[in-house]
Subunit: 334 residues, 4 copies
């Protein structure tokens, strides 16, 4: 941690701040520049609240040079994490294809889609049971009944199931769910993250609408600090000024995160773009740049889907994407 | 609601979509343009999922012309809402001054500050008991004990108290809290909002980091749809590319919201800027442009505050701000 | 164009606005809704200033349903534009590889790099002669001398040359330049665009830092309105809140633009990320999602480059990227 | 300047980088931490290209601790700059009121408005002669004829005139213009800025759509580096995700810039919000937080203005704003 002092700092002020830093067990190197004095704090700077330091009158700025995330940090855990989910896994050699409808609507719909996507290459089934909707007047999902249908589809097809949680009190309902998803709007719902840290279920943590990668990794850290290391990150687009797409898919995040963390990163092109015909090119791009998998909305009848229809593929379209992605991977993973 | 059809739409496709819209009880006006056909949907378009309509193959775009928020909408409720809190209120003639420390640290600290800010013009006391922190390793607040101290400070000074909730399960602890705050990171924690809708406590709803005013009002709508109309909006800065301030305070939101909604809007210049010396000018600006009140961090010893020290004012500085604001109001409210 | 009137609009106000619209030669369809009246303007609405209409007291909002760009619009020009550059082209079957140093530094440097990148697959040579720098104290390029060196490198290698213009007065210096680049900061320098519209040189138009795709196409329109249809679009990342990458590369723009326009779109992963080791994955992703080409910074000695060193590849690294991209294209263009 | 080295840096690598830094005439302090080594560069670090340093293989990050702007920096010029314009000035005790139409339309219009706004408190007259428009098909201004009309209005009323330049070649036309405006889209048109630096005319430099305050000051620096110290900064809103206002007015920029620079900062609430009825509250807010002046669009007949009508005030409305602002200033400047 580096603290730059104001050029008005007196010797006794500098001494007093140095003494204080040493009193919490850190060492300090002092660089006196022509215009400004710079303190380098040595030791476990996690003990120091950077904001507090920055608040001292003589301090101009504080820069933290070691990343604040530890469990998620590749520096301390160089090997890729592989998250095991039933007979499959995320983060290893298998490329993960999570497919399924935005919302679980009925047994017939869900099992129909599940069978189709399995046949066409999906390794997991997704489906929304609890739906976060901007408006209280929109369809909020089938809830517990939706989870029951997912579990049934899993029995029928053998596909592990992924569904979103919005309330830690619902955890008992998720006992047979294989991967618990945390949606973008709850990425910084720290109370929920802490509860998920107490489980050992794989958690699929979506990036928040306007969250930096650092904040995202800190949210992963909330889960991991509780002892649950099974975290999968999912890039799903960020909010920008552009309006032709619902969000702006940040594929460079895949490259950056591969350096910063050992956790697997998958990509959701359906929510990112909000437009079915952009899903294929963005899926190809995600595979090409090293994503560990894809999460794609598939509906047997997108026109009549209860939510997010316009961004859903038909099973046939999903099959095409899966085939193309497999061929892209032969090059990208070579 | 306006649906613009693609110029490839055939007559039978147009007829089929018109029939479908009529089947859900709406009327349709059809405008055939030189290049494109436009459908105007008449009636209670809340019955229609705009995304679903937009997903139909022949539809190019859908524009909702009536706002999706109802309870919060000034069109249906022209008079300003006044939220009553103890002997004071938010939204009426009284200008609200909520002051207090970022975190409750000790009885001595809190009661000391409470007495000071009351003397200097505060109408309510704030203090964080449950603290949302980006890092799981940072101080998370005194929790229940913090609320006990706030209640004690209220007994001592008579000031109503405001504190943040992060988990609906904690609601029983908030029985003696006068105003429950929902923080920016939980603005779209819909499960929490629904639970708060079941209470009749005043809710101070902060704007999310990267949420539009429309989304913010939809979150208010979640609370109001449950029957709780006591919602206070609090602008606290949005995320932009600028880095000199922590967030970018959007004061034009005060003007826009006064048109869109009857709910009172207050401003938090402390979190918006993250810098104590910008609090006074932004407080003046907020008062000048019509805010119903201010929420300001005050600490007896900002240098040693456990969190957010750099943005806290001393009680003396708060007193100065309160006096200046009072004089600005004489002009702005004239 | 759709104009939604306020619900306070009287019949005579509505009549007056309808008369005015008809007076400029347009037809109007009137939809009277339960709450609001909507006017659909039929005909060449380019005659109407939407802002002016929106400014009328009884108008609540105006939505333009036909895109404001014409020459660049795929609706009126369904076939892909192919921009011919020397013996090569942009936008057809050839995948364009523009490679070269950020800045032209010396004859030896430039010709060395030019030979290498040609051998490794580049189809054009880039090099900055006039450099836009945020600081007036940074190296501003070799200027005219830099262009002379580029022309020499072209003679040596046969590669067409691409370089940036910052001032229309410099146009005479660009006589032997094959493609004139307009940088992000000048994307809305309309005076420069108009001058370039008078030439028949291919123009490589970079997306502005914070410009929407619509604004970008309108800037292309400025060039095309002058009669120069040889416009190549180049996505180079947009400004967001994320700080791990210099900009956020918006690859979905490639997909969106392929629908909206017939102009070719290439991608610059070097400037977008600002980090050499992210160039390869982003180049793969760009090829996978349908870009017509790539513009990549290559330097023989990136550590000692005069500007933007950290984002430059070595020629060897460029060769690897070019080979991988070629194999990705076999799948993506299949 | 601080360079943090990677923890893989060997002693000989560290020595080699230290030698290199010393070779350009700087001193280096070395702090060896538990995990990382940090170099503090002492001396005139403007000699070093930070990007180049960051590009070295062993360097993890580089932080510049002294601001890159010099002429504009308050550290080296503590007193407020006062820009003299005819008989008035910007930045001193006089609060500047620049008022007038978006576009100059006719002699009658302009002189009518000029007389009105002068009577109601304006200290300068603005009017667009050359208009930057997103679309090449929109009205581009009266150009030279518009400037002639402004000069006539100045003769009639004595008000100094402010108008925008888009092309340095037009400078001869601006001889009788008192303040030359650089619009947001040209804030980083460095070639234009350099030419303006050669004049001694006051320059009103608007903030770019998505530019940080640091970049803005660097653009001021381009003008000042040429010897022209008469720069006035104008905050006019930045681009964010919010759509209810055209831009998001960043009033905290006024406070931040007062610390960073000695140049005067004025505010343009008309362009920032794009809505006439938000101009008054934002003008009040700007005055309350310390702006040196306001630039406000005024039109005698906003409904029929040729551009930007919806954001124009009538002269009467401007008069009200001017009176209110004067009273706000009595408090804010006390």
């Amino acid at each position: 941690m580096i603290a730059v002092l104001k050029n008005t700092a007196t010797d006794s002020q500098i001494q007093s701040i140095v003494d204080w830093i040493r009193s919490v067990g850190l060492d300090v190197h002092i660089s006196r520049g022509e215009y400004q004095t710079v303190l380098g704090l040595i030791g476990d700077t996690a003990k120091i609240d950077g904001d507090l330091l920055a608040g001292l009158e003589v301090v101009e700025s504080v820069t933290r040079i070691s990343e604040p995330f530890k469990s998620a940090n590749r520096k301390f855990h160089p090997d890729d994490t592989i998250v095991h989910v039933g007979d499959t896994s995320v983060g290893g050699d298998i490329f993960t294809f999570i497919a399924g409808p935005c919302s679980v609507e009925s047994e017939e719909q869900l099992i129909g889609i599940a069978r189709e996507v399995k046949r066409l290459g999906a390794t997991m089934l997704r489906g929304g049971a609890f739906k976060p909707r901007t408006s209280p007047y929109d369809f909020q999902g089938l809830k517990a009944e939706g989870i029951d249908l997912l579990v049934e589809a899993k029995k029928e097809t053998g596909l592990p199931i992924v569904t979103e949680i919005m309330n830690a009190n619902h955890l008992p309902l998720f006992e047979d769910v294989d991967v618990i998803q945390v949606g973008a709007r709850n990425m910084q719902n720290f109370e929920l993250l802490k509860e998920l840290g107490k489980t050992r279920k794989p958690i699929l943590l979506k990036r928040g609408l306007a969250n930096t990668m650092k904040e995202w990794l800190m949210s992963a850290e909330y889960i991991m600090a509780g002892g649950n290391e099974n975290v999968i990150l999912c890039e799903r687009g960020i909010r920008t000024f552009e309006t032709y797409t619902r969000n702006t898919l940040d594929l460079s995040a895949v490259s950056v995160l591969k350096e910063l963390t050992h956790l697997p990163v998958i990509v959701d092109p359906s929510h990112a773009t909000g437009v079915a015909r952009y899903v294929k090119p963005m899926a190809y791009a995600a595979a090409a740049c090293g994503a560990a998998g894809l999460m794609i909305e598939v509906h047997n009848d997108p026109k009549h889907a209860l939510c997010d229809g316009p961004q859903s593929l038909t099973p046939e379209q999903f099959g095409e994407v899966a085939q193309g992605v497999a061929r892209i991977l032969e090059v990208a993973r070579a």
